[in-house]
Amino acid sequence: MSREDVLTAADTASSEPIQLVAPDGTRRRHAEFDAMLADVNDDVVADLYVDMVAVRRIDTEATHLQRQGELALWPPLLGQEAAQVGSARALREDDFVFTSYRENGVAYCRGVDLEDMLTVWRGNASSGWDPYGINMATPQIIIGAQTLHATGYAMGVKLDGGDQAAVAYFGDGAITQGDVNEALGFAASYQAPVVFFCQNNHWAISEPVDLQSRVPIAQRAEGFGIPHLRIDGNDILAALAATRIALERARSGGGPTFIEAVTYRMGPHTTADDPTRYRDQAELDEWKEKDPLTRIEEYLHTRGMAVDGFREAAQHRADDVAEKLRRGITTMADPEWAAVFENVYAEDHSWLNRQREQYGRYQNLFGSDAGGEA
């Protein structure tokens, strides 16, 4: 079978992602999904939209801050707002989230402090926040490793007899990792209450997804005996409904679910990458037509909402968020040197104490006015 044949197979109607809101704002019906959205009236949709605007604005501001020398690096999520906000807004507070480094939209919805979202990228901290404060682990840089953490957490929930779920967020690039496949195996064997939320954004840095998987990614779950859903990842209602289905299954002892949200990374992999070197402008233009924000604007318009004023209001709120973010970052104090030793071990550790003491002596060589206090 040639690669073309495989791609054709991947595009057949049977694997067409489930979509509730088309790019032009048309609402499509889907019995199982619609049943999950009984409470989602126009106000809720509008509220989801406001979050997406804020997330996009944060992402843009952070990208600017990197270009201005305030951040060392930033992994933009432009284009993936619906997949992240839709799924995150389906979660309960006591569910636990394990993400990669690109899930800043999820972090926003979980209530991560804006500055905490960026300290790591500024090099001011080795980790962003207290995971137990908001039930979200700090972003995993190692590709796919968080799927194991989520599965382990979910196995613990099951042993405790709780009805919480763990959610692992990862990308199409992660599916080839051994960790992800091990996690899928364990989750299936132990029927762990975990949701595998894969954002297929089409590019693993510069590698296109069709090189990585010869079948739709969701189909891989079949081999593990895990039920799967393939959704339009740029459709926030589909993302919300699919995640609710998966969570309900997890809470009721039905085990794991694999969701493939078909979306698109419209920006670079990180600010250190130049996507024009490996992808076509035509492909980007095609996905701009499927933008997750404009389709909700269109949808709300069909529902009789005055979209223009509403959009401006959302943008203003987002600008405020961005300004707060900028102020927080540009006035952020350098960390005290000893901060690097915090949160390494849960308990006192003699070996680490010795290092801290030696490093303290080294710092003192700079004199008191060179940041050696603390």
Binding site: G69, A72, G123, N124, D274, I329, Y362, L365, G371
Partner: protein
């Protein structure tokens, strides 16, 4: 107030960017995050968003300029703004005279040349008062190297004969016994020989006395030939991936053979040395491993295999290194080779090497043994696939027929162009030459 935007590290660990275009001009009003310029880093073309809102006061770099990370790009007049912690102009700290401690993770990276160091750690080695500074190795006039590398000095097989007390005396006086001709019976070096040699003012001593101070320096113009050698070496070293192999071989039997041949009529008037034998063995094995007698023609996308061996012999002349070659050396017998080599080396020493002799070499040999050296990693003559360095023949305890015996051994060093030659081919070639030198009678199998 005026705020300066310094070029940040736009990727991960970039040191500079080239300004492509400015999207604003001086006097223009800019908004926060407005794109002001396109710059190209080693990784990507990126848009620079302005970190301040205000009026452009100054643009520091013209399009086409490469700006170092941390150097100013643009100054913006910002109304009523207080100095921001994040974007202080780099000049501010310097002007204050404070040692700037650059942030190392974000923005501008560590200063390349003035990295902050702990003050107390700075311990320069200042000699204590009255203590004489250790003299740096002053240039010492070295005895002229032999005119050519190719000439094998007639080395006595045994060391000069003398008695132990005389050897001690020589050591004490710094007299080199090998440089002395003994006047005693059977060439025995006597106490008088050593004493008279020791009394003579030795040239290096005199030179050392008048050597320039360590601080002094002498500047010597780079001559055309040195320049040619330098560029040939640089070209070779940085285009051909070099690999070098070494093999030490017992050449006692070869030395005996040479001794016998020298006495034969066929070699009368010829200078027969280990180099001649190595050259012959190399020609024989180049026929068996043609990869080493070839040339990488990257432009044509071809490898050129040479039918004949134009054997280069590296010669250190007064004016620099020359590698004249013997055309079609593979078709010559030992006597012809010896004669050719002598002529070649003589002309090189006299500065009469013809351009033809320097062109179209296919493989080279360098005899570093004449300088008392054992092994090295020679650089391939450009356009060739390999070069063989032969070390000096020295008496060493060596395994011989299951026991340790004093044998004459030499080390061969072969550098080869790994684009053309792989390790197996090079090893076969080197081992083949060594095999002939170890057992010259095996030459019969090549006839």
């Amino acid at each position: 107030m005026l705020k300066v935007f310094n070029l940040p590290d736009l990727g991960e660990g970039l040191t500079e960017s080239e300004v492509l275009t400015w999207k604003v001009s001086e006097g223009e009003t800019v908004a926060l995050n407005q794109v002001i310029a396109d710059v190209e880093t080693a990784k990507a073309v990126v848009e620079l968003p302005c970190p301040f809102a205000g009026v452009v006061a100054q643009i520091y770099a013209e399009p086409g300029t490469v700006v170092e990370v941390g150097k100013p790009m643009i100054a913006i007049e910002v109304e009523g703004a207080e100095p921001s912690a994040g974007a202080a102009p780099s000049g501010a700290a310097e002007a204050a005279g404070a040692p700037a401690r650059e942030p190392t993770l974000v923005g501008y990276g560590a200063a390349i040349e003035s990295g902050a160091r702990p003050a107390r750690r700075r311990r320069t080695a200042v000699p204590a008062a009255g203590e004489q500074p250790q003299s740096t190795p002053a240039p010492v006039a070295v005895a002229e190297p032999p005119a050519t590398e190719a000439e094998e000095p007639a080395r006595p097989v045994e060391r000069p004969r003398s008695t132990p007390p005389v050897r001690k005396l020589a050591r004490d006086l710094g007299v080199d016994l090998e440089a002395l001709a003994g006047t005693g019976p059977d060439g025995l070096i006597t106490r008088d020989d050593v004493q008279s040699a020791g009394a003579a003012p030795s040239a290096p001593e005199v030179e050392r006395g008048s050597a320039p101070s360590a601080a002094g320096e002498e500047r010597v113009r780079i001559t055309g030939m040195q320049k040619a050698m330098a560029s040939a070496m640089v070209e070779s070293a940085f285009t051909a991936p070099h690999a070098t192999e070494f093999l030490t071989v017992d050449v006692t039997e070869s030395m005996e053979l040479l001794e016998r041949l020298r006495a034969s009529r066929a070699f009368e008037g010829l200078k027969l040395t280990p180099l001649t034998l190595v050259a012959k063995a190399a020609c024989l094995w180049l026929a068996k491993t043609p990869e080493l007698n070839s040339k990488w023609d990257g432009e044509a996308g071809e490898i050129v295999r040479f039918r004949d061996v134009n054997l280069g012999i590296a010669a250190a002349t007064g004016r620099g290194l020359l590698v004249p070659n013997i055309k079609a050396a593979n078709r010559m017998d030992l006597a012809e080779l010896a004669a050719e080599m002598r002529g070649l080396v003589g002309r090189a020493r006299d500065g009469k090497t013809s351009p033809r002799e320097l062109a179209s070499g296919t493989f080279s040999i360098t005899n570093i043994g004449v300088f008392g050296i054992d092994a090295g990693t020679p650089i391939i003559n450009p356009g060739e696939a390999g070069i063989l360095a032969m070390g000096q023949v020295r008496s060493q305890p060596w395994e011989h027929r299951g026991a340790v015996a004093l044998r004459q051994v030499l080390t061969l060093s072969l550098s080869f162009d790994h684009r053309l030659v792989d390790g197996a081919q090079a090893s076969r070639f080197l081992a083949g030459i060594a095999g002939i030198l170890r057992d010259p009678a095996s030459l019969i199998t090549h006839v």
